[in-house]
Every structure is written in structure tokens, then in C-alpha cells.
Symmetry: D2
Subunit: 362 residues, 4 copies
């Protein structure tokens, strides 16, 4: 027991719930401080029905109390509202794992995709992008970790090996199927059961979803790292050329899960095959405890409830298209699981401590 007190802001959202579950069983975490403006003063059970025992009885607090108590702070608060809380915590010397979008893009890209000046551009030099498999070397001891978006995680894990291998063509299509919980706990009337059950639709198509920028950045950095002989040691801060993608998410009737299907016609003359693509993925993610590369096409439910990513690939020799598939739980590897994974790396703990390695099947 390290005696760590860990704070969670936004603990009444889905990201927060996943953090509570993982941190409550984490052997290096001694105390939890849970922040929620809406539920401050009330027990966890007033907000979340899935906890029993001592965890259900913990009381939510205001953010100032949480920040003051915490050795490490997780922010699962809305983008825009989070940067000032991060600044406050960093100023108080706390380590921060930020699940919001506020420190994922550099100030210029932030301006382009979020349509506003970043309120704390001076903090970016301390930020590291928390996609652990590709930035692990940067995360040890990191003070500010920007945990990736859920769609971005699945899309980037699919894209990076192809980008590194030079197998992306002039058009890279990343279509994602996503569960409803990605919209948060209070997403409004269009997200009721009766409206979404038995329903599938695209939303924020190609060029309009902000996770596009994260995918393109990771693609570009993976290409640059490979060119520089750095393998998958990506750099959060060096200049890079984004790798353009057409990214379109689709809402499908399930609570959890993301499936990314990346399709690209490989460059003329490229040497591609199903076996080659599978070997490429296996090599790229060798040693990553939360990534499974398999021949069978991934299904979201195999990852649901877990913090794993499952990948596979195919090659269509007839038309020259390479396809890479990646399934994650948007709330696991796509959110709280990945954030705790990065926290583990930052502290030098075993990478999967407190995480969920087995999905809930059925």
C-alpha cells in the first residue's frame, strides 16, 4: 500500500464511475476523494446503483476539497471546464490524468477543432498523450497526462501500424460503430431507449468529429517515428504532419463498445497480404498486455467490461484494400481503463494493476 489518495472529478459521469470501480480495488490506492457538484454531500449510492458496501457509502465532495486531498487527480469533467481545474491541481503540485479533451491537441490544433483559444497554452509542454501503447516511454513520471478520446483510441490503434509501415493510400476511411454511453449520462431526448433501440445512424460524418484530429495526429506521429527508426515510441511534442483520414462514427444500439473499421487502398506496388498485415499488427503490439491481435475478426462484446483492445486485419487482393479492425470498450480502454493504465505507468506500477482484463460475456 503506497498510501496514495486519489481524487476523481466528474465522478458522477460514466467515466467517473469506471474510475471509482478500478481505483477502489487498486492495491496502491489507499483513499478515494470523489468530486461531483451535483451530488456533493450525498453518498455514491445516490448516483450509482452498481456499488455495494463501503464504496456505496463514500460521499461526493466539491472539487476544491477533492483537489486539496488528492495526491493524484483524475479529471472526468467536460472539455473546456477542465483546463482550469488542471491548472489548479498542477499549481498545487498534483499529478493529473485528464480524461477530457483539453490537453489532447496542441494549441494550434485545439483552436482549429474546438473553435477557441486554449485557456492554458503554457501547460502543454508538461502534457503527454496517454495512449499507453504508443507513448509509454513518455509517461513514466509524467505530470499531466491527456487521456485519448474513445473513438480516437480505437481508430489510432488501427491506423498506427499501417502508417508506420507505409501502407496507407490516398484515402484512409475510418468508420466507427459506437455504443450509446459515449454520449455521457445525460445526453438528451434523442438518446432515450425508445428512440435508439433497433436504430443505427451515422453522426458527425467525415471531417466534423473532433476525434479526427487525434487519429490524424497519431497516424502522422506513427509514420514519423517509424521513419526516424523509433518504432512505436511516439512523441507528444515534436512537430509532425497529420495523416488525413475520413472518420465517420455511427451510433448503434448498444450501451458500450467501439468497433473501428479502417479501410485503405494500399499504395500501388505495396506488398500486402492477410498474413503480412496480421504479422505487422502482432509485431507492432508485441509486449502490450492489453492488446490482443488475432485472426478472428474482433467483436465489441469480447472487450466489453474490460480494458483490452482486440485487433485483426484483412487484405482484399481483388481491389487492393487493406482493412484493420479494432474493438474496445469505450468506457474501458476508451476511457477509465486507459487512464488508470497511464497512471500505473506514470507511477511505475505494473501496467494492468486495478484494470479489468476479462470482458463480460455474455
Amino acid at each position: 500500500m503506497s498510501g496514495l489518495t486519489v481524487g476523481v472529478l466528474g465522478a458522477s459521469g460514466y467515466g467517473g464511475a469506471g474510475l471509482i470501480a478500478r481505483l477502489a480495488r487498486h492495491p496502491e490506492v489507499e483513499r478515494l476523494a470523489l468530486g461531483s457538484r451535483r451530488y456533493a454531500g450525498q453518498p455514491v449510492s445516490a448516483c450509482w446503483p452498481q456499488f455495494g458496501g463501503a464504496t456505496a457509502a463514500l460521499a461526493f465532495q466539491e472539487s476544491d476539497a477533492v483537489i486539496a486531498a488528492a495526491d493524484v487527480l483524475f479529471c472526468a469533467t467536460p472539455h473546456g471546464a477542465t483546463a482550469p481545474l488542471v491548472a489548479q491541481a498542477l499549481a498545487a503540485g498534483k499529478r493529473v490524468v485528464d480524461l477530457s479533451a483539453d490537453f489532447r491537441l496542441d494549441p494550434a490544433a485545439y483552436r482549429e477543432w474546438y473553435g477557441a483559444e486554449h485557456p492554458h497554452p503554457e501547460l502543454f509542454e508538461r502534457a503527454r498523450y496517454g495512449l499507453v501503447e504508443l507513448h509509454r516511454h513518455e509517461l513514466s513520471g509524467a505530470q499531466l497526462i491527456a487521456s485519448p478520446g474513445c473513438n480516437a483510441t480505437a481508430g489510432a490503434l488501427a491506423l498506427a501500424p499501417l502508417a508506420a509501415a507505409g501502407l496507407t493510400g490516398a484515402s484512409v476511411v475510418v468508420n466507427v460503430l459506437t455504443g450509446v454511453s459515449g454520449a455521457g449520462r445525460s445526453p438528451g431526448e434523442a438518446f432515450t431507449y425508445a428512440e435508439l433501440d433497433e436504430n443505427a445512424k451515422a453522426y458527425k460524418p467525415s471531417g466534423t468529429h473532433r476525434h479526427t484530429a487525434e487519429i490524424e495526429a497519431t497516424g502522422g506521429r506513427a509514420r514519423a517515428a517509424a521513419a526516424a527508426g523509433d518504432g512505436k515510441r511516439l512523441d507528444s511534442r515534436a512537430p509532425f504532419e497529420p495523416l488525413p483520414v475520413s472518420f465517420t462514427p455511427h451510433l448503434v444500439p448498444m450501451s458500450r463498445g467501439i468497433l473501428a473499421t479502417l479501410t485503405t487502398r494500399v499504395p500501388d506496388g505495396a506488398d500486402a497480404s492477410e498474413e503480412g498485415l496480421l504479422a505487422l499488427l502482432a509485431d507492432y503490439y508485441a509486449g502490450d498486455p492489453l492488446v490482443t491481435v488475432q485472426r478472428e475478426l474482433p467483436q465489441t462484446k469480447a472487450a466489453a467490461g474490460s480494458d483490452r483492445a482486440v485487433l485483426s486485419a484483412r487484405f482484399d487482393a481483388r481491389t487492393g484494400h487493406a482493412l484493420v479492425f479494432c474493438a474496445i470498450d469505450n468506457l474501458g480502454k476508451g476511457a477509465s481503463g486507459q487512464a488508470v493504465q497511464a497512471f500505473n505507468v506514470a507511477h511505475g506500477f505494473p501496467e494492468t494493476l486495478g484494470l479489468a482484463e476479462v470482458g463480460t460475456w455474455p
Copy 2:
């Protein structure tokens, strides 16, 4: 009342159930003869719980009796097993609407995609492809109608206008989300509720699903028709060059519905925009009673239970990608609705007679 007796083979499958529902209320159909080997001699209610009254009491028969009784025969029987039944019915002078795959591809393409010689190549000259919006002029009086595959319907309706307008690039990606009923009523253990609920996965990816051939054929024919100044009057029999696509279906947890998302980087220099694409679709499908072109992105549930197709489009100027979306009910416009629509055209009845024009919402 025209006094038509209409036969349905495969009436104990989902395609058959949709045909019963539509034909039982069709004002030009006087009598139904329903075929099912498994349920022969038993009433409809032994197989289907959704019917009441007189329809529930109708008895299934063996196929010979159905063919003998019918003026018009719908075949909703498995591919491979259907061609001989079609031959038998045509020899007896009956009109046939075939929902199986047996007459959708010409003998050469059939050999390539189905891996076998076609058992009745001599019948192809009488077959017309039943995608009504694009082949309507051919269907009047047609003796043998090959009703399109469900995925092919959605994919082809999305692709044809782009192909006609020359807006498809070197890579055309057609990803489809499909409900589970597309696999039929007895699809095996991997299709149980507990295995598929909360689950999404790709299957038969790029180049391996047989509906690919239908989409590529329609794309090629639409391009040829436009080049010949024939608008959307496609020709089932003329030689053509297929338009290659990467087609990947995804199984998502819903009973009904298909959403096709077509993505292509338009040729360099092409003049494309959201407004232009929407106008292209609206022009292409002007006058088609079962096609709705709208700005809002389509959702499958809006078409579920109906025989409509709903389309929209977007253009990503940043990366040059055009996207076309098409939502249908795989069992409506994708199967029995489309077959009855073609039957109506063949007979000169109003095109939507007996069809379902309103979806079930919620």
C-alpha cells in the same frame, strides 16, 4: 379484384413472412398459396405468431401444389435450391419474382462469386434485375424478376448516383450496418440473443461477401447508362464494366435495418459539395415513391417496418471525401417490399400497392 392467385415458396422464412403480410392485404390478390416443406399441412399460426384471423388459419402446402395453383410465384427459398423451382414455374407459364440470389448475376459472374456453374443459364435472357428505381422500364411485363440482395439494395442505391455523375474515386468503400434478421430464421448458435446483444462485428469483409458483385454491377451499369444518356434506365442484360468497391458488412444488435455508408475520395478536380450531392440524389430519385432524399442523416429505424429507402449525403472538403448514406429495412425495401414493388410494376399496378409506407416508430 383481379382474381390473382399468388404463390409464395419459402413462406416459413422471414422473406416469406413479409410477403404474406403484404400480399394478404394487396387489393389485386385474391388467394394466397403458401409453400413450406417443413410446415406443409400446418396452419400459418404454427410457424408465425404475428398473424391473426383468416391469415393465421391458412395451411402451408408442398411446392408443387403452390406452383400449380399460382398465377404468380414468389420464391423466398435458399439460393441454389431456387433455380430449379423457377424453371419449373416458368415452364408452366407462371410469372416469377425470385428473392433468392439465383438470377441476380449473369452466368459468368455467378460462377465467380458462387463457385459453381449456374444450373439454368438458358433462363437468364428472361431475367430482369428487380431494383425498381433503376430498372423500372425493364420490369413491365417481365416474366422473371431477380429481386436484389438486401445489402446490395442499400449499397447500390447509394452508389448509383455517384457513379452516374463520375464522382467515384480510385477507392470506393461501402460499409454496411445490418440487423440480424438478414441471416434468416435459423442461423445457428452464434446468432443467439445472448451472443449478439450488446455486440457489433464485421463479417465477410471486403471482397468476400457475394452482394459485392451486385453493388459493383449496379455501379457499372449506372455509369454506363449515364454515359449513354439513359439516365437511370439501367440494362439487366447489356455487357458492362463493374465499378469495384470494398464492401464490408457489420452485424449490429438490431433485428431489422441496413445502413449503408459509402465513402469515396472524389476525383481530383471534381466539383463536389454537400448541396451538390444532395441535389444529385434528389434529381436521381425524383419521382420514386419509395425513396426519400433528405438533409438529415438517415437512421434505420425510420425505415424499419416500411418499404422506403432514406438517403442523404455529405462532402468533406478538407479531405475530398464524398459520403452517401442509405437506410432501408432489410426485410422491407431489402426483401419482400421490393419484391412486391417489382410485382406491381410487372403487372401495371400502382407501384406501392400493398406496401408499407410508414415505418414503425418507436
Copy 3:
């Protein structure tokens, strides 16, 4: 074509959508006037995605305009807010079919269950309870029809035959499973897909749901009618003794559908058996076109999308319990279907005109 103009208030709710679908295809309805405060001036397509063609283009209006235009008015507006609209329409000489709860209970029962004085007690003498199978004789020419609650419909159809036959014991338990659409289109954050998917729970248990009063009233009236030798000709206005039930609804993850399971230990000495109960149901509902009595246990999906009720029964000789099951679509027979059925009877039209007789399977 009778030339009727039919108005629908609350046309932007689920009840309203079902009315639009049924009335738009009703051969005796010439024009629709659709009321919605929220969408006034906008077309149907701004609110509902499931309509195409002319119906999608109809514009919503304010309620005054709808009432003025209508020969017959359907109210699918919230309880409490509806009574004044009913009064306004009746004063203008219009026939009213009210889907709200405002005229289902007499003023005394209304006070007990709704906790307020009824605003228009003087109108009750004109109201008839619109459970067509049991009140058909009263509905011909009725000026004000109070259409039953969805749970009440399923529960009352199950209870009435047992009550009439004297087979209810000291404890009558009516448990209902209900789909989510029963809560309306904007039911709040607890009704999102992510919260309700894979979830089942009881709510408003025994004695706290207002539909209890309707079930008890129908049970009491059915008992009284049978005792008086009136069979199932129930009387909306005569004094009666309610038949007490423990009614508990359960929310289950589906959009549509209600399954009522009635369990009662029959009085000592009662002559009960499965065959007897099935015959009792079949006799009681003989001639009712929208009721199916069958040996197979009913399933909600067989009624979904339709206006049918499906009933069955069992007897547990070991413990003396009789069970009656009733499945309906809460938005069909439980709401708009039943309302149009009553409208047909009031006007002397065939009872199933415009209704949906076939469920959507699968």
C-alpha cells in the same frame, strides 16, 4: 370517402404518431389536422422520421385551429391538460376520443387516484369507456370516448373473463411487463438507452399506479355484468364495486409491448382447468376481431406494430392458481389502435378500418 376531417392534439407524442399512421390510411378520413404546440408551423418530418411523401409534409398547428377544423378530435395530450380541450371541443359540437386519463374514472375515483378535483365533472355523463370489447354497445354514437390506459387494457382484458366467471380469489396479482415507449417521448435521463438497456425493474408497485383503478373498475363491472346476465356488456356509468388487485408494472428493455400476467388462487371448490380457462377466454372474446385466444403463451412481439391482443391461460392444479396472460402493443391496442377502433364503432365503420392487424415479426 365520408369527407371527415379528423384532428389530433398531441400529434408530436408517441400516441399522436400512431394516430397519424392509422388515420392517414383510413378510407373514411379525408383530411388530418395535427396539433402540436412545440412544432406548430413545422412539417411532420421535423418531428417524425418515419413518414414519407405527403404525410411528412403536413404542417402542425395550434390546438384552436385543429379543434376548429375537426369533425372528430383525438386528444393524445397529457392528463390534466386535456379536460379543458375536451370541454372546448364538445362545446363546439365535435366528437372526442380522449387518450388521456381525464375521463377514465368517475369524479370520486379521479379524486382518489389523481389527488385533485376533476375540472369538468359535468362531462362524465357523456363519457364512455373505450375498451371496445367490453363496451362496444355503449360506443355507437358516443360523443366522448375515454380510451383506456395501456396497462389497464392488458390487465382488464385478462381479468374480465375470470371476474365474470367468479374465478378470482382473495388475492389477484396482475404483474405487467412494459416497453419503454409507455413513458412517452421525453421521459428524462433515467430513460436513456445506456441506463435501460440490459435492465429490468419494477416501478410504482402494488397500489401506487393509477391504472390500478381502471383494472379494478373493469373487473368489478365485468363481475356485475355477468351477475346481471349481461355477459360482457359493461356499463360505464352504473355504480359498481371494484375488484381489488395488486398491480405492479415492470419496465423491461424493449420499445413497445405489454405482457400482463394475472395470477389468482381460485376460490376453494372452484372448477378450474387449463381447458376450462382457455374455453372461458375463447367464449368471452368470441367475435372480437382484434383478440386472439390461443393455447400457446403470448409473446409481446407477436402483437408489436399491430392492434391485436393475444391471450392465453394456464391452471396450476398443484397450488390452485389460475393464470391469464395478455400481450398487446402498448402503442397499438394500448393506445392509438384502440382509440381508432372506438372511433370506428362510434361512427358505425367496420371495426378494424385503418388498423394494423399484423405484427412486425421479427
Copy 4:
């Protein structure tokens, strides 16, 4: 690390998968031996997609090898086929936790409910009923544990406190809503997604489901234990009088979860109230780490993925009905979780070791 080798027969079924997940992380279990006739020689990943790492690579074996290797054997095999395996393992001196139905009922009751003579009646004296909360005192050191049925667990936990307090009336109705996984992994064509989605139905109604016998036995034993002043120390072997119930399960569209709703009209003169019932439950289950008693009505999803039971109660003073609700995960507390809980008690390990205490929300 105790060095235990634990065997699991039936490891390719849902019960087996839950056992693998719990035992693989159990700190007192050193090695797993997994039995599956169908998958013998193949790795876990050939059968189950949700595991990664070392667990996915474990090979299934034939049952003889598993029994030989195991210190403790879990049987998740079909009823009827299990008793001989249990006999074999007991003869070899192994401890057995049997998740099948083979040792839940005494030989006489087994004959009545299963319609056959029990093949190993001589083993019953060694069997203890594994409903831990009520039989904990018997389970320490037990050699053969008969783990309860899933419906029986929920129904019995709801019934026992009422039975002990003398609050059950002449009719006790236990209605259960159950997820589809209760039918196992290969339940046949009626359990496909397309048939069950958006569907609810009763099955094996009152008096026909075999779990009835377990519920009635626990009710009777709880009554007897209370009368004898033994609180909730129930006796697996003493003669007892069953407490008759009408038990009817309902299949609802979810993969996991059981909600039991018990309704009984309390005896005349009984002193009952909501507060009293809640206090009764809280007292009865005080100290049970996996039981949560709460005022809020339980929902199945709060228990899904966990090994908790959540209970609440209500009293309808108007009609004299007491209601008790119990939600569990049928595969957690209803199957593998409960079996591991009993294993922990048998070995003197902490009761929740290896179990899942937090549900998966959403």
C-alpha cells in the same frame, strides 16, 4: 497462495466461463484444469472471445484428466449427466461444487420434479445446499455443495425472510424476469436475436418450472428454522414442509439478470408496513457481504456483472399485499459467483475472494 488446483467441468458453457473468470484471479487458486468434451485439446480462445493473455491460451481437457488433476472440482455440466461425475470425483476424495440440479433436491423431490430416480441417492447425505446466506454454517468443510438454480436463488432470497416472519398468505406469487443467458449457450432457434429482441413472454408457468421446488424448500426451511429459533441457519437435510408458491418465469430481452417479484397477501391481522418489511430484510441479511437491502426498487443492471443480490420491499396497505423484490445476475450470484462464494466458505477463505462486487454500469 494455497497451491490449489481447481477443475471446472463444462467450462465451455456460460457457467463455466464465469468460473474461469473468477478462479483465474482467485489468489488461493494456483492452477486451473478446464474440461470440455467439445473443445478438448483446443485453447480457451477457441471457445471464448473475452479472455486475453495466459487464460486464453489454456487448453481444455477431457473430464477424466480434469478430475484427476483437481483438488476441488466445479461441475457446470447438464443435469442428469453430472451425478456420475460427482460420484467419480467424490470417490477420488475431491471436494465438489455442483452447479447442476443433480443434488439440489432430496431423492423423493428429485423424482417428483425431474421424473426419474436419482442415480446416486447415497450421496445426498454429503450434499449441502449452497445458498450461502442461509446455509453458511453447513458449508464449512462441506464435501459436496449443490449450488442453487438461478431463479431459485432470487426467489428464495425474497421468500425466506417473509416465511421466517410468518408473513406469507394463502397465495404466494413469485414472478421472475430473466435474461436469455439462463437458457445456456446453445438454446436453439427460438433464442436467436431476431426472435427475442423486443420480445417478452412467460414460459413454464406456475407449477411447471423445476426451480419451484427449490424455492418452496427454502421457504419451508426458513419457516422451520425461524420456528426453531435458529434464525436463518437452514438445514439441508432435516425433514421439512415446503411452502407452496406459484412461480412463473418470464423471458425478457436482456442477456443477463433476474428480477424476482414476490407478491403475497399477508395473513389477516398481520402487522405489516413498508418500514417493517425493509427492516425485516435488513435484519435477516445483516452481515451478508453480497446482499444489499435498500429502499429503492432494485434493477437488474445494478447487479449485472457482479455477484451481489439487491433486495427491497413494499407494502400495499389498501389491499394487504406485501411485495419483495430481488435482483441478481443470473450468471453471477445466480451461478458461478455463488458457487465460488460457497467454495470460499467451504475452505475458510474470505467469502468474497475472487468475486465481482461491482456491477457493470452502464
